[in-house]
């Protein structure tokens, strides 16, 4: 087995970095030492083998798959950026607060209606048929109001997205309108 120094000499020869003196040393070594000659032959064969190693080519679909993933990634990134931008927009934030206040106002205004409905139910307890009718009416009204609220919220959301300033102005009118309506109903009837 050749020693470390001889192996290093062989390595330099394979890398084409051997000096003329080194070349002479190696030639002498290979001529005189059968083991070293055998080892060098093996290394040379490996070198030839590696230098002629074939390249694997990428499958045809690879580029298309990568580009599809890049497109999906970009789309997701754009969506996140838009969402972050929308969230940080002070006008949109204000509009959302106005909506919350409007919903609160509507709840406050409808509260007397719910209380009066409860009162009617309690009074009608003596008459089961009347109770059923009252319950049906109350549930019907509540469902109607819920639907109205949902439609209202959807409209409000789309308005915020398209024109946050107008949305804020319109939403602020809702409690005022509702209060005016209630005042008209109760004060005028009294």
């Amino acid at each position: 087995m050749p020693n470390e120094k001889h192996l290093r000499l062989m390595q330099e020869a394979l890398d084409g970095e051997l000096s003329p003196e080194g070349q002479q040393l190696l030639t002498t070594l290979l001529r005189t030492d059968g083991q070293s000659a055998l080892e060098y032959d093996k290394l040379q064969r490996v070198e030839t083998l590696l230098n002629s190693a074939p390249h694997e080519r990428a499958p045809r679909r690879l580029a298309a798959t990568i580009m599809a993933r890049v497109a999906a990634q970009m789309e997701a990134q754009t969506w996140v950026e838009t969402a972050a931008q929308t969230k940080s927009d002070p006008m949109v934030e204000m509009s959302k607060e106005v909506i919350a206040l409007s919903v609160l106002a509507v709840t406050v205004v409808t509260m007397p209606l719910l209380i009066s409905a409860s009162w009617m139910v309690i009074n009608a307890m003596a008459d089961p048929s009347l109770l059923t009718m009252v319950l049906q009416q109350v549930v019907g009204m509540m469902l109607l109001m819920l639907n109205m609220m949902l439609v209202f919220l959807e409209k409000a959301q789309s308005l915020i997205e398209s024109d946050p300033l107008t949305a804020a102005a319109l939403m602020s009118l809702i409690p005022v309108t509702l209060l005016s309506l209630v005042r008209y109903m109760f004060v005028e009837q009294a």
Binding site: L7, R8, Q11, L14, E39, K42, L43, R45, V46, E47, T48, L49, L50, N51, S52, A53, P54, H55, E56, R57, A58, P59, R60, L62, A63, T65, I66, M67, R69, V70, A71, Q73, M74
Partner: protein, 199 residues
């Protein structure tokens, strides 16, 4: 220093131009895939790793230094990704007697069937040899013989020193020589014969 056209593609891709990034992918897909295949030894996994490497590169294009070679930068990302994969799993050595997987017929895209079969066989046996090397030895060998990188360039890619790479490569050559020798002794057909044919 990178080709100005590539720098132009990189800058355009940073600005969101997907066509420019597609040019980069088309230009380097073979190089990246070959590296992944040689390191991982499985065509399907290499394809997946190549995709991940390109996506990582896409996400980090702004970090690319145009004073460096783009190919080297890209191959560094791919090799790091493959080494991570190799570390996460212990690779099962592919037997040289196993049938050729259908997906391995990639090297032969433009070759005649007979030439393609020889090349596939050569590639497969070469891969079986490579897989017997430790991960870092394998990467050094692949970068040296498939990409013609200098010792210093390999050291940069592998975050090591030139002397360490030199001794690693020499050790790898010795190991390969021993494997081939052992294989030739234990088999009449010999491992080298199909590889050396036509050389």
């Amino acid at each position: 220093m990178t080709d100005p056209v590539i720098t132009q593609w990189v800058n355009a891709a940073i600005d969101g131009d997907q066509e420019a990034f597609a040019e980069i992918v088309y230009s380097f897909q073979d190089a990246v895939f070959n590296l992944c295949y040689r390191l991982l030894g499985d065509s399907a996994e290499a394809e997946d790793a190549a995709q991940e490497a390109f996506l990582k590169a896409y996400g980090n294009l702004h970090r690319y230094d145009s004073e460096r070679s783009f190919k080297t930068w890209l191959l560094t990302i791919a090799s790091n990704h493959c080494i991570d994969r190799l570390r996460k799993r212990r690779m099962t050595t592919v037997s040289i007697d196993e049938p050729i997987p259908a997906t391995l017929s990639l090297a032969s895209r433009d070759l005649q069937p007979e030439q393609a079969a020889i090349q596939q066989e050569r590639s497969r046996r070469m891969q079986a040899l490579l897989e017997q090397l430790p991960e870092d030895y394998r990467l050094s060998v692949v970068l040296r013989y498939w990409y013609d990188y200098s010792y210093q360039e390999i050291a940069d890619i592998m975050n090591s020193t030139e002397s360490a790479i030199k001794s690693r490569l020499f050790r790898a050559r010795q190991m390969l020589a021993d494997k081939i020798d052992h294989s030739e002794r234990s088999s009449d057909s010999g491992l080298l014969n199909p590889l050396m044919e036509g050389m």
